[in-house]
């Protein structure tokens, strides 16, 4: 199944060819990117249809694993891989004339290629490389607005993620020293005997911190608020929405396959809780919408890590539910923040100026808070049920914190809803594209609510497949199709 490689290679290739192509024809440079993304998305969908959700692998260059690099595509990986080009298409930067536009398109393609690679790759070092590539692309995109504060925010982002990468590299080194392999499947084989020691845990901590930078994991998330406040909103949406989920996917694979120990889970939960509490509380005090959303995103991802720390397929299902919900809601909210960027108090009257946007915001807010029967509620319920199943003092503390923080979340979100609907002077309206993206998010949300039984079945399938380490190992090490 070497078609699996195309969605990674095509965008990368196009990215490098775009600069020369731009010299030839402006239209070509402008439309090549979206076209390639469409093709990639189509390819991935076709693969998904062909395999029917069954996992497949592809060994790159014909080298069989564990020596060669391997791609592993189960339903979850494919879903994430599809999400990357689709999100990028929806959030494609507004066309700028000339060099800058071409550069941005190239960076977007780079981001998509490496992102898809991250979703599919089954080799840790390969993941690391894609991760770095994606990071570099996101640096360029984040600073694309060209304002001084965007540069400063990006520098901060560069420093944090640079440091994160080297910690991850150190973790990889530790891992390699212990096992002599970086293939996830082989690591999974070796983990019980070689990694069930403090050194293994240290390696996990390093990897957690390294990949946690993108996943907005506490404590390496303090680049988030400034960057989201300064970067263009589509870029923020992309980073908060799909890119953070890719990093989460890596961590998910690592916890499920390699570091399936209580200590590792505990570490994940503590960091997740710290992010949840600090993020939501900071959002409570935020005074402008982009930063409010940034903080709230940190909080949501904290919840995601708490969910990720829960053992078993049920815990995995909870984590996936939270992740997919966030993937859907956060970009839509960031698109709404595109025009609602000022002080919160100045948004009074926005509800009258653009009723659709305000209605969508309210819908997303309700779902984020977790009001039944919206999907956000069911996601939260799954997490809470799994926490209650653990029933240790640690789990119950986490349970209490998650619940308490929800109250704070409801307060700041609905304080804002109240402001939106109160009479005021705010007259800015949204661009049709922002509204369309947000509307699409809302429509999917409502559709998921209406087809809840089907969605929940699909979710359970995804989770059980992702939790099935035996299948991963046999399939990957047993050679490709």
């Amino acid at each position: 199944m070497n078609a699996l490689v195309l969605p990674v290679v095509l965008p990368l290739l196009t990215a490098f060819l775009l600069q020369p192509a731009g010299r030839l024809s402006a239209a070509l440079a402008r439309w090549a990117g979206p076209a390639v993304l469409l093709v990639c998305a189509g390819l991935l969908v076709q693969i998904a249809l062909l395999t029917g959700g069954e996992p497949v692998t592809a060994a790159i260059g014909g080298f069989a694993p564990p020596v060669g690099i391997v791609f592993y595509a189960d339903a979850l990986a494919l879903l994430m891989a599809i999400a990357v080009p689709v999100s990028a298409l929806l959030l494609w930067p507004r066309a700028e004339a000339g060099e800058a536009g071409v550069r941005q398109s190239a960076l977007m393609l780079l981001l998509v290629g490496s992102g898809t690679g991250m979703a599919l790759s089954g080799d840790l070092f390969n993941l690391y490389v894609f991760y770095e590539l994606l990071t570099v692309a996101s640096f360029g995109l984040a600073s694309a607005t060209g304002t001084g504060r965007a540069y400063v925010a990006t520098v901060r982002y560069v420093l944090v993620s640079g440091f994160g990468s080297l910690i991850a590299l150190a973790g990889i080194a530790l891992l390699y020293a212990q096992t002599g392999s970086l293939n996830l499947a082989q690591l999974a084989d070796l983990a019980p005997e070689r990694l069930a020691n403090p050194l293994g845990l240290a390696a996990f901590a390093c990897l957690l911190i390294g990949f946690g930078v993108k996943a907005e994991l506490f404590p390496v998330n303090n680049w988030v608020p400034d960057l989201y406040a300064c970067a263009g909103k589509p870029i923020s949406a992309l980073l908060a929405g799909v890119v953070s989920k890719l990093a989460v996917l890596v961590l998910l694979r690592l916890t499920v396959l390699v570091f399936d120990s209580p200590e590792a889970r505990e570490m994940l939960m503590v960091l997740g809780l710290a992010g949840l509490v600090t993020g939501e509380l900071a959002a409570w005090r935020a005074r402008d919408l982009p930063r409010l959303l940034a903080y709230s995103s940190i909080g949501q991802l904290g919840l995601l890590f708490v969910a990720l720390s829960l053992p078993g397929p049920a815990g995995l299902a909870a984590a996936l539910a939270v992740a997919l919900h966030h993937l859907l809601v956060k970009p839509a909210l960031f698109m709404l923040a595109e025009r609602w960027h000022g002080s919160l108090d100045k948004l009074a009257g926005a509800g009258r100026a653009s009723p659709l946007a305000a209605g969508l915001f309210t819908l997303f807010a309700l779902s984020l808070v977790g009001v039944p029967p919206l999907p956000g509620f069911w996601a939260k319920l799954l997490v809470l049920l799994e926490l209650a199943r653990g029933a240790g003092p640690f789990d119950l503390t986490a349970l209490a914190l998650v619940l308490a923080v929800t109250v704070v979340e409801a307060h700041y979100l609905f304080r804002l809803v109240g402001i939106l609907y109160s009479p005021g002077e705010f007259r800015d309206r949204h661009s049709p594209r922002a509204l369309a993206v947000a509307g699409l998010g809302g429509a999917v949300l409502v559709a998921a609510m209406l087809t809840l039984p089907a969605v929940s079945d699909a979710l359970a399938g995804l989770a059980s497949q992702a939790a099935d380490t035996a299948a991963y190992r046999t399939l990957t090490l047993g050679g490709g199709l």
Binding site: C206, L384, A388, Y421, S422, L452, P453, S456
Partner: protein, 615 residues
């Protein structure tokens, strides 16, 4: 299709109709009719139970059904909605400047959500209904904007805190019993160790208590209810808080059971869980009632009383005897009629005058005599004096406390009633008695569309006072539904050797007494000469209309001189302290993200740690 399905369909249809037709001039009339239809459907339904649809989501079964307890609360809900909607259907709606469609839809959504809550057939459905009710309530409270929005937001904080406590309790219960069904929960709770059971009781108490506005979760209610547009306020004040009582009855009494509560001791004391709940209820009776005494806005005064009256209901219910629990439940329906009447009158005054400031009104009795009559009946009922229905339910609560041998709770209950008498007199005096302001001299009686419902609910409160047996049957069925001892009742009240009450005779004799009194007054002696309302002297001086001599502000100056110092605002202080504490932590959290490079400090520490582990 079961009768309950039909009812839900009718309720959903009302909501849909209001969403579509809410801006229509006659939308209020339509809504009233549709609530009437729902009420009629409810009455055609079997009281002891009906089932409705089931759903399945994520492997959880959600089911809806009615039992006698649901039916009882549904009657109160729909009845209040019917009268509140009628009240707002005519002239009030024409004068309403807000968004009509939104308002009508919010009211319909509230009713629908509450019916869903009442019909919940398992704990998960209960939570779904609970959240739906909370958010529908938030919508209704917030839609007026301004002050109402702030009050609603405050409500939201309390409601969400309550809902989250509830959710926590539910997931813990689910993991202990493996199911959300009532039967499983009952079995799990019966077998549970005291520690976890206490935790669950506290969580449930917080969850449901927030809506019932039990102390110390009561601060939100007065403002939130008062600032809502008139029919909404009537509806909220009359019935919404009672959903908390419904849920408490369902869980504390129905699932855990009074005997279990009695057996559950507070460690290191001689108190039991039942005592704790009863004392929370008793404090909820006393403290808010005396806060009401200090209010200067008629709506706030009534809303604060609403909090206190909720305490009576819980107090009666938790006593657990046939008499007490019947009294508590009966008070739900009596109080709904009473509070609806009172709020309708007060909002009627607001409709005519434009405000409800107790210091800027007075002497309206001659201008709005029928409103006065309705208010009079209402305050007699609220204060719990015969012959109104409020007396009957309170009498049952008092008697059960005597029989149970609980002197301090009894004292608290009666001190609450005395405070109510004081403050309702202030209400009627400052509104309707005393000096008529010159600017109100040409005031008209409230419009007919508002008068009829207020007189109707007042009549209901009177009739159920004279013949409580008319509704005690519902109460008895509701008692049976949650496993309480069932009250033995007659048409006139209670016949028992320990405490009997026959309101037919009591009221009959009272009215005979009034008749004789009237005969004595009007039939004998010289002819009275009626002076004009503004023809007044005091201390030998003629008081002209330009002089403000209405004794209204700080009405109980003497009492306040004595107890004024006891109003310390401790609950406000507590709320503020929690808010500030959280704010401080939040500032710290925000500081973490705003600081220059704190992540590196932490990371440097973690690298050192990893290095140490590795070596």
């Amino acid at each position: 299709m079961t009768p309950l399905d039909t009812l839900y369909l009718a309720s959903a249809a009302t909501l849909a109709a209001m969403l579509v037709l809410g801006d229509w001039r006659r939308a209020g009339v339509l809504a009233t009719l549709m609530y009437g239809v729902q009420l009629a459907l409810l009455f055609t339904m079997q009281r002891t139970g009906s089932t409705s649809f089931d759903l399945s989501a994520l492997g959880f079964e959600l089911s809806w059904r009615f039992d006698a307890l649901s039916w009882f609360f549904a009657v109160v809900t729909l009845g209040t909605a019917f009268f509140a909607s009628w009240y707002g259907a005519g002239e009030w709606l024409r004068a309403y400047t807000g968004r009509r469609r939104l308002f009508q839809s919010a009211l319909a959504a509230n009713v629908f959500a509450m019916l869903l809550l009442l019909g919940s057939g398992d704990l998960l459905t209960l939570f779904v209904g609970w959240e739906a009710t909370s958010w529908a309530g938030f919508l209704l409270m917030a839609l007026a904007g301004g002050l109402a929005r702030d009050a609603a937001l405050r409500y939201l904080v309390y409601a969400m805190a309550g809902a989250m406590a509830l959710l926590g309790a539910l997931v813990v219960l689910f993991q202990a019993g493996g199911s959300f069904s009532y039967e499983a929960a009952r079995a799990t709770l019966a077998a549970m160790a005291p520690g976890p059971l206490w935790a669950l009781i506290i969580l449930f108490g917080l969850g449901f208590g927030a809506k019932l506005a039990l102390l110390p979760l009561h601060l939100w209610q007065a403002a939130a209810y008062s600032e809502t547009p008139a029919p909404g306020s009537v509806f909220l004040g009359g019935v919404v808080g009672r959903m908390g009582l419904f849920a408490l009855a369902l869980v504390l009494v129905g699932l855990i059971g009074i005997p279990h509560l009695q057996a559950l001791a507070v460690p290191f004391t001689f108190l039991t869980a039942q005592d704790v709940v009863a004392w929370v209820a008793a404090l909820t009776v006393v403290l808010p009632t005396y806060t009401a005494l200090k209010q200067n806005d008629a709506r706030y005064l009534l809303a604060w009383h609403g909090i206190g009256q909720g305490g009576y209901m819980l107090l009666g219910l938790i006593v657990g005897s046939a008499l007490g629990s019947a009294g508590g439940l009966l008070h739900v329906i009596n109080y709904a009629a009473t509070q609806a009447t009172l709020l309708m009158v007060v909002f009627g005054v607001r409709h005519r005058v434009g405000h409800t400031d107790l210091n800027r009104l007075g002497g309206l009795v001659a201008r709005m005599p029928l409103s006065f009559l309705a208010l009079l009946l209402g305050i007699i009922s609220l204060a719990g004096l015969p012959p109104m229905s409020g007396f009957v339910s309170k009498w049952m609560v008092y008697s059960s406390l005597i029989q149970d041998g609980r002197p301090f709770l009894f004292l608290a209950a009666i001190v609450g009633t005395l405070g109510t008498i004081l403050s309702v007199y202030k209400l009627i005096h400052n509104l309707f008695l005393g000096q008529l302001r010159a600017e109100h001299e040409q005031l008209n009686e409230a419009p007919l569309s508002m008068l009829i419902p207020m007189l109707a609910t007042a009549t209901l409160a009177f009739v159920t006072g004279v013949a409580p047996g008319l509704v005690l049957g519902w109460v008895a069925d509701a008692q049976a539904a949650i496993g309480l001892p069932v009250i033995d009742y007659t048409l006139g009240g209670i016949a028992s050797p320990r405490a009997s009450l026959d309101m037919l005779w009591v009221v009959g004799v009272m009215f005979a007494g009034f008749g004789v009194g009237a005969l004595l007054f009007y039939g004998a002696g010289g002819k009275t000469h009626r002076v004009h309302q503004l023809d007044n002297y005091a201390g030998g001086h003629f008081l002209d209309a330009g002089m403000r001599y209405h004794y209204s502000d700080n009405f109980y100056a003497g009492l306040m001189h004595l107890i004024g110092g006891w109003y310390r605002g401790s609950f406000h202080w507590l709320e503020g302290a929690i808010g500030s504490g959280l704010s401080l932590v939040a500032q710290g959290a925000g500081g973490w993200y705003r600081a220059i490079n704190p992540a590196f400090y932490l990371l440097a520490a973690s690298v050192a740690l990893i290095a140490w582990v590795a070596l």
